[in-house]
Every structure is written in C-alpha cells, then in structure tokens.
Symmetry: C2
Subunit: 209 residues, 2 copies
Amino acid sequence: MSVSPAWLPAGLGPLTEVHALSKGASLFHLGQAVSRFYFVLSGELAAIRYMPNGAEAVMLTARTGEFFAEASLFLPTYTCEARAMTVCQVLSWPVQAFRDALASHPEAALAFTRTLAVNLRRQCSRVERLRLKSASDRVLHYLTCEAGPDGWCVLAGTQQNLATELALEPETLYRVLAQLEKTGRIERDIGQDIRRIRLLGRQGLECAL
Amino acid sequence: MSVSPAWLPAGLGPLTEVHALSKGASLFHLGQAVSRFYFVLSGELAAIRYMPNGAEAVMLTARTGEFFAEASLFLPTYTCEARAMTVCQVLSWPVQAFRDALASHPEAALAFTRTLAVNLRRQCSRVERLRLKSASDRVLHYLTCEAGPDGWCVLAGTQQNLATELALEPETLYRVLAQLEKTGRIERDIGQDIRRIRLLGRQGLECAL
DNA sequence: CGTCGCATTGATATCGCTCAAATCCGGTGG
DNA sequence: CCACCGGATTTGAGCGATATCAATGCGACG
C-alpha cells in the first residue's frame, strides 16, 4: 500500500480516479488513444505485447508507489496492453490534466523529473547486473549497488524475493550465498525480521578516493 | 557522432565545455561534489563502482546521443566513478546552470522529461528481456519490442552487436536465429548494408484489439 | 593477394535449472 | 503444551542450455 506523491499539484485532486483491479484485469489496450496516466498504490501492473504465436512479452512493470508507463504521457496511443498481474489499487488522472499540471507547477515538474531520473538509474543498474552471466557476479553487483553507508545491504523481503530480483532460482541463490560466506567474501545476518548481507574485504576503500 | 539536443536553452551555449577523452579516462570520481552534467557526443561512458576485491561493477552506461547519469542532477555528490570505455567526445554544463535552464524554460524541461521517460521505457524493456533465461525468448522479445509498423526489425549494427544487446554470445545468437528461421518463426533479410528480421505468424493480430 | 572482421557450424565443458528430500520456523488449533 | 501445517531455507543429484574453444567460409579493403 502506498500514497500518491506529495508533490502532486492540488488541482489534480478532483480529477483523480481510483481503480480496484482484480488479477488479470486490463486497464487499456494496444492502439487505444492515451486517455489517463496511472500510479500504482498497491500490487503490480505490467505492460504487455503479444507475439505472433500468442505468447506474451512483458515490456515493463510498475509496483507499489510507482507511476506506470511514464512514456505514455508523450504518446498519442498506448503501445502495449496494461494488465494487473496481481490484485491492484491504482490511481489515474487525465493525461492532459497531468501534463498541464506539470507545465504550470515547476516544482512538481522538477519532482517528476527527479522520480524519472532515479528510476532510470535503478533500471540501468538492473540491466548491467542482468548482463552478468554468473550468479555470484550478480549477487556481488547487487551488494555493491545496494549497500548502505555502513556496508550492510538490508533485504526488503525474503531471499526468494532477492532471487527474483536477480533473475535466479532460489536454490541457486542459496548455494551462491553459502559459497560466498564460506569463502569469506560476504557476511550474513539472517533473522526472521532483519535480513542483511555485507561485502567483506578491504573496507571503505573507494570512499577514500 | 552526434549533436547536443536541439531543445537546449541557448543560454547554456557559452557554458558548454567539450571534452575529448581517451579510452579509460575518468570524468569524475566517487564522492566528488557534483559539478557538471554530461552528454555523450560519441563513444561510451560508464559509471563504475568498485567491489572490495577490486573488481569493477558497471552501474550504467551512456552512448552516442545520450545524457550521462541523469540522477546526478539531483545528488550532492557523484556516487560512482565515470570512465570512458572508448575514445569519447563529451559535452558538459555546470549542473546548477543546467537545472536553472530547465526551471526557466518549461518547454526544455518537458523535452528533458520526455527524454527520460523514453529512456526509462527502453531500459524497462531491457530488464524484462534479460530476465528471460532462454536465448530464443530473448530474441523473440526483442523482435516484438523493436519491430516497426511493417513488422520488420531493422538491425542498427551487426548481429554481434545484437548479441551484445541480448547478453548472448554471438555463436548462440547465430544458432538461435538459424533455428528460428528453419522452423518458420522468423524471416531474415541479411545483407551487408541492410540487416533486418521479421517475426512470422499471424500478422497484425494485436492491432485489431 | 593477403589480411581482417563477421558469419557459420561442430565439439565439449560448465553452470544454473529442475526435481527431490530434509530441516527450520512461526502460526494455528486442539 | 503439543501436534500440525505452510512457507522459507538448505542440500543433493542429474540434466540441459549456453558458453567456450575450434575450424571454415566469405566479403571488404588495402
């Protein structure tokens, strides 16, 4: 569960619609004129295209607290189908009103731009990580990216969730973590409430640069 | 080779610096105060973090015609080292001047936001594609995403470049394409000047939705 | 004509996926 | 309190897909 961004201009309030989507529900279809812009309060939305054989190709997904398909703000028609991958709560605004709100509220426009820039950085890191073929390389890359100032990387969910993030099977991740711990490359602190992992080795070497 | 975006406010012109980087040159280091914002005219820039063992973790890359590390516009210090992966030509502006230019030129701010949104969509698609474990699934996903209105997907570079984009080895891509062509799932038109690939099957089915 | 890079195909090795079984833990109900 | 259950975790065994190494053809280019 989430709330809409605090920086949204108040004028959008009356135009806000709330959508309660059941799993599998569609928000819009390929080729439809872009009418509304969406924000995920909870659940997961996906943008999907279909291949000639009928198989689905997921183009992008948005989860709790994220805007959905930001590029649709700049397109005349939707280029994918939007589908709820889970039960979802979604907000939406008319695209023209959203664009106008950004145009007339520079501070909101800046906040939106920052959101885009931060998301873009995260996605770029994911791309570089998924380019790595070795499971341990992906884990080390993740720990390098996500570690806090103290060196510890606090896992949001379970280790299975981390496996999903890294596009690995849970068994593979368990084995890799066990191996990295045994060889002294990481340190683990796995409890039921707090799960965290830390890279070992020369500490804070980069910060000294 | 590229040029700076046409929508950049003219006031930035006198503040523009041109950097000619040799391969391996650094633009800035981790922890330095953010001073300038960069755009790649040619070549490839990468943002790198170092792991305790000294290995490098690429966080993001920018190529010809792209801004570099857009999130740095909103950060006090650089969170990575910037390194030229190839010979590079780079433009830069003082971050404060760039932010001010966006704040005082709504149409430029909108164009910048659009650039971010389009890049974000591309990166999201890449993430979803790289999550696929099967080489043929990655190829089909790519063709589904990148196909033009006529169904043909025109390759920008060589098939080796496509292999890099899909995080596959060239040999694997050759085998997968040959197999897909043999089983009638794709059609290839490989010449020296034009290389294009098309998905076969029920045509235009999605557009009818 | 020689070289170089791209493309293609074959053979082999390796890594991660898959199936399977056991353990641990919190929560639930008797 | 204890038995039971479901989900997360852990470890084992085998398989398959992709990486890797190798060889060849092909066209461009000097």
